[in-house]
């Protein structure tokens, strides 16, 4: 069935030429010389004042990277990237380590204000004075205070290669949660970083991850101590600003035994004619009984309507459910980037651990999305769930690529996968490439690609109360993702809600 008009209109509203975040911030910046060699790696490491082991780690990665070739199996096409024609480090000029927001360049503050990202805690959230759970006062980003622990969000803002500000650090520190740029963590908690860095995504994992290991400049570091439920949402906002600059951030989140943390990231970039490279690595580690919820709103510049410009988003994200009964859940809303190449995955190592992946990928214009997940079941009675919705419009290509694998020892492993896609217009493509590997008999793996999961009874109930079939479907779909959306930062949530209300009527599997 073809897409209904309402859906077409809604997708049109977020078409590539409607990109709102394409402005550029004119600011002086401090760059590494163009190109990539040992010296670039040393330059970055020196800039961050890193310990010797870190430099060695980077140099090792760089040497290995030189022997690797760019992967070409994904359903994405782009001209060869000249890795020597990029800046690998760019930071706004500033005094070392601003002590307060007043020391941050007002241009940057203005940039984040325009993006709707609050860096001034008081101005932004008012929540400091309010007890958790009480409604915050709208404003810049507070819409409602419905979630159990207030609406306050701690933000780490990464501008090109550096973190410019991290909010609520003190308050988080009171409960022992460490939330800081990874460069700062390397100074303050080198042992923790050393213990976990590269243990989920090894240095030589893949071409882009290895490049990242060599030249990553900043990103967020989170450590939640045992038994602590992180009192607020943590978030990182990534902004690429400088021309010809690659952004290589690295995020490391460790949830120690019995802890909980919800983390979200947002990304935007100016509209430019040239393509910008973004190759990030995210590592999540959940120990016994811990839970990490990771949400992404990816809205990098997608290129113009002729497919010129846009961000190449080559990202390696992986979570390791290292402990028993741990849980990692990935939620992603992908609307940006010229090319998306990312597969947030879960290694379900601990017995009874759970992995979840919820994704909504919308492609428009000439965007190419190749995204999905991997659920590697290693422990007993591990459970995974994959829900993926892809919507392609314009001349875009949207691919779901996923692996579900139950190993010999993963007795009683369970997986349920549902991926639907919807095409709008006859110039785009929607593809599904699932890999299912069952290596023991007690594993049960189900993969399906239909929209029939919306129960007829629910639809009937809605229609009986006067909703049209379309409205009913939209309502059900919205209800389904609402829990996820409500935890997103407000500006995003509004945007996301619009995207989600896109009806999935007329889907193909």
């Amino acid at each position: 069935m073809p897409a209904v008009q309402e859906t077409v209109d809604q997708v049109r509203r977020i078409d590539v030429d409607q990109y709102k975040y394409g402005f550029e911030t004119i600011i002086e910046s401090d760059k590494a010389p163009k190109g990539l060699n040992d010296d670039t790696v040393r330059f970055i490491s020196a800039k961050k004042n890193e310990p010797q082991w870190m430099l060695d780690w980077r140099l090792d990665a760089y040497r290995r990277w030189q022997t690797m070739r760019e992967p070409n199996w994904a359903k994405v096409h782009y001209p060869p990237i000249d890795y020597q024609d990029l800046y690998y480090y760019s930071a706004p000029k500033k005094k070392d380590g601003p002590k307060s927001l007043d020391e941050i360049d007002p241009e940057i503050l203005e940039t984040y204000r325009k993006l709707g990202i609050p860096l001034r805690e008081t101005e932004a959230l008012l929540g400091i004075q309010r007890p958790a759970g009480e409604a915050a006062d709208g404003g810049e980003n507070g819409e409602s205070g419905e979630s159990g622990y207030g609406r306050r969000v701690a933000v780490d803002a990464v501008f090109d290669s550096v973190s410019v500000a991290t909010t609520f650090k003190e308050e988080l520190a009171k409960v022992g949660v460490l939330f800081m740029p990874i460069s700062e963590a390397l100074q303050k908690h080198p042992d923790l970083v050393k213990q976990y860095l590269g243990t989920v995504v090894p240095v030589t994992d893949n071409f882009f991850a290895t490049l990242n290991a060599a030249v990553f400049s900043d990103g967020s570091f989170v450590y939640v101590p045992p038994g602590v439920r992180c009192p607020m949402e943590l978030s990182t906002y990534f902004r690429i600003n400088e021309r010809n600059t690659g952004q290589f951030e690295r995020t490391l989140i460790i949830a120690d035994k019995g802890s909980y943390v919800s983390y979200l990231e947002g990304c935007t970039a100016p509209s430019r004619d040239e393509n910008q490279l973004h190759a990030a690595v995210v590592e999540l580690i959940a120990l016994d009984d811990a839970e990490i919820k990771y949400s992404t709103i990816q809205n990098w510049y997608p290129g113009d309507k002729n497919g010129k410009g846009g961000v190449y988003n080559f990202v390696t994200k992986r979570g390791d459910c290292r402990g028993a009964r741990s849980k990692i859940s990935w939620t992603q809303l992908e609307t940006g980037s010229a090319i998306t190449w990312k597969y947030p995955s879960c290694i379900l190592r601990g017995d009874d651990s759970r992995g979840e992946f919820y994704s909504i990928a919308i492609s428009n214009g000439h965007q190419q999305v190749d995204s999905g997940t991997k659920m590697i079941h290693l422990g007993k009675n591990t459970i995974s769930r994959i829900i993926s919705k892809g919507i392609s419009a314009g001349q875009s290509q949207n691919t779901y690529r996923g692996l579900v694998s139950a190993h010999r020892k993963a007795k009683g492993a369970r997986n349920f996968t549902n991926c639907d896609s919807l095409l709008i217009g006859d110039k785009c493509g929607a593809h599904t490439v699932p890999y299912i590997e069952a290596k023991n008999a007690s594993a049960v793996i189900e993969h399906e690609a239909t929209t029939s999961k919306i129960s007829e009874a629910t639809l009937f109930y809605c229609r009986q109360r006067g909703l049209s079939a379309e409205e009913a479907v939209a309502l059900v779909v919205n209800g389904f993702v609402k829990d996820v959306l409500q935890t997103l930062p407000m500006e995003f949530a509004v945007e996301a809600q619009k995207l989600i209300s896109v009806s999935l009527e007329g889907s193909v599997g």
Binding site: E70, G429, I436, A438, I445, A449
Partner: protein, 438 residues
């Protein structure tokens, strides 16, 4: 990942190169096509797990050596072939017998051919420019197994069914491998079913148990507009055999096409199907059942390419995996930009009977048209304990209950076969397999 440059050839690759150089002059016809195909093989080498289409069937590792090309069958081999295909007597088909890859008219039933039916030896027909023109063009592919087949094909059959002709008896292609000595067999057949014709083609591949031989067989099948064609392939090779099969089918408009693959036997089986829908309004059923035990490995790889719209296709594949066997299903539905109103659904289900068995499945969709209905489902798991309990509670012994459930599971696919005699024969095959298992 990237295909690697591999300067080092495996023993099998070296043997194939040597065999081609030494024997190409004796192979019938198609010299330039053979050369070109062999070049393609040499450039690519034997496919391995880093080649996406062969991810789960690493032929380079599974095919340690290449056996010498099979000699023409001698009297002993022919004598052994007498009863080949007897298991399918109920089908009452017209036997067309290939022994060690060579078409044997004396063993075949070529008397009183129905009007419009012609059956020829490929070895003799390969010199015919009209055949050379068709061969390799029904569904063009750069698949390496097909390239190897083109390079080495020795014989096979050319079957033509004229427009509107309706065959009353199924054609039963019996491919028998005598297993006198380790050998490799390359057969290539071409079947062209004319507009509005009705035909059923059964292929059964069998061989002496315990013998170590390699088969690379290919069939190019053209289903004309409004034709009604059933093709059933039964792979029951000897336990030591390596069997690679490629089926290329081009289906016309308003046709009916039913495909069924039954696999039980051989150490390694790779069944590749390339089905292209060229005309609108066609209804197709593509199904299969695989029963594996021991260390058997069977791979079904299907590409259903919808070039024209408005076709309905149903794909159902079932595999039952016991012992340390490995069942692979790779299916891809492609809907081209103008193939609107396509309705294509694919289901692949694997039943794991042992802790050591493995099921790998990759059901893919590549959709470029917006007004279509496509879907796929894939499951892997053990027998449902609740159902087993239900049966046992009603006094059925555990083994029998299991067998019942397995039969029902496989039956869902076998039921798609229209020919009652063949359906019953295959159900018997399943029962025999189950009996052997217990």
């Amino acid at each position: 990942m990237n295909a690697e440059l591999r300067p080092i050839k495996t023993a099998a690759e070296t043997a194939l190169s040597a065999a081609f150089a030494a024997q190409k002059a004796q192979l019938p016809g198609m010299a330039s096509a053979r050369e070109a195909a062999f070049k393609r093989f040499e450039a690519a080498g034997l496919p391995h797990r880093r080649v996406e289409d062969w991810k789960y069937t690493d032929l380079r590792a599974l095919m340690r050596e290449a056996k010498p090309l099979a000699p023409r069958p001698d009297a002993v081999a022919l004598a052994r072939a007498k009863n080949a295909g007897a298991a399918f007597a109920a089908v009452e088909g017209r036997r067309i017998v290939l022994v060690d890859g060579v078409f044997i008219p004396e063993l075949s039933d070529l008397a009183a051919l129905e009007p419009g039916l012609s059956i020829r030896s490929m070895a003799l027909a390969a010199g015919d420019p009209a055949i050379a023109e068709r061969l390799g063009h029904v569904v063009a592919t750069d698949n390496v197994a097909v390239a190897l087949n083109t390079a080495f094909m020795a014989d096979g059959v050319v079957i033509d069914v004229a427009e509107r002709a309706a065959l009353t008896r199924p054609l039963h292609l019996v491919a028998f491998n005598s297993g006198g000595a380790p050998a490799s067999v390359f057969t290539r057949s071409l079947a062209t079913i004319g507009k509005g014709a009705r035909a059923m083609l059964i292929e059964s591949h069998e061989g002496a148990p315990g013998n170590d031989y390699q088969v690379n067989t290919a069939l190019e099948l053209t289903v004309g507009d409004e034709a009604h064609v059933d093709h059933v392939k039964i792979t029951g090779e000897g336990a030591g055999a390596l069997h690679v099969s490629s089926l290329m089918v081009a289906v016309g408009a308003h046709a009916r096409f039913n495909e069924f693959l039954f696999t039980a036997g051989a150490a390694v089986v790779r069944n590749q199907l390339f089905v292209r829908f060229d005309g609108e309004g066609t209804v197709a059923g593509i199904r299969g059942a695989t029963l594996l035990n021991g260390r058997e490995h069977a791979d079904t790889t299907l590409v259903a390419d919808h070039v024209a719209g408005d076709c309905v296709a149903r794909e159902v594949f079932k595999s039952v995996l016991d012992g340390e066997s490995r069942g692979v299903f790779q299916g891809k539905i492609i809907v081209r930009p103008h193939a609107q109103k396509t309705d294509s659904k694919m289901a692949a289900h694997a039943l794991l009977l042992s802790e050591e068995a493995e099921a790998d499945s990759k059901p893919e969709l590549e959709i470029f048209a917006d007004d279509v209905q496509c879907g796929h489902g894939s499951t892997a798991g053990a027998l449902d304990d609740d159902l087993l309990f239900y049966l046992k509670a009603r006094g059925i012994p555990a083994k029998e209950a299991e067998a019942l459930m397995i039969q029902a599971f496989v039956g869902e696919a076998i039921d798609g076969i229209e020919h009652a005699g063949l359906r019953d024969t295959l159900i018997d095959h399943v029962a025999a397999w189950l009996k052997k298992r217990s």
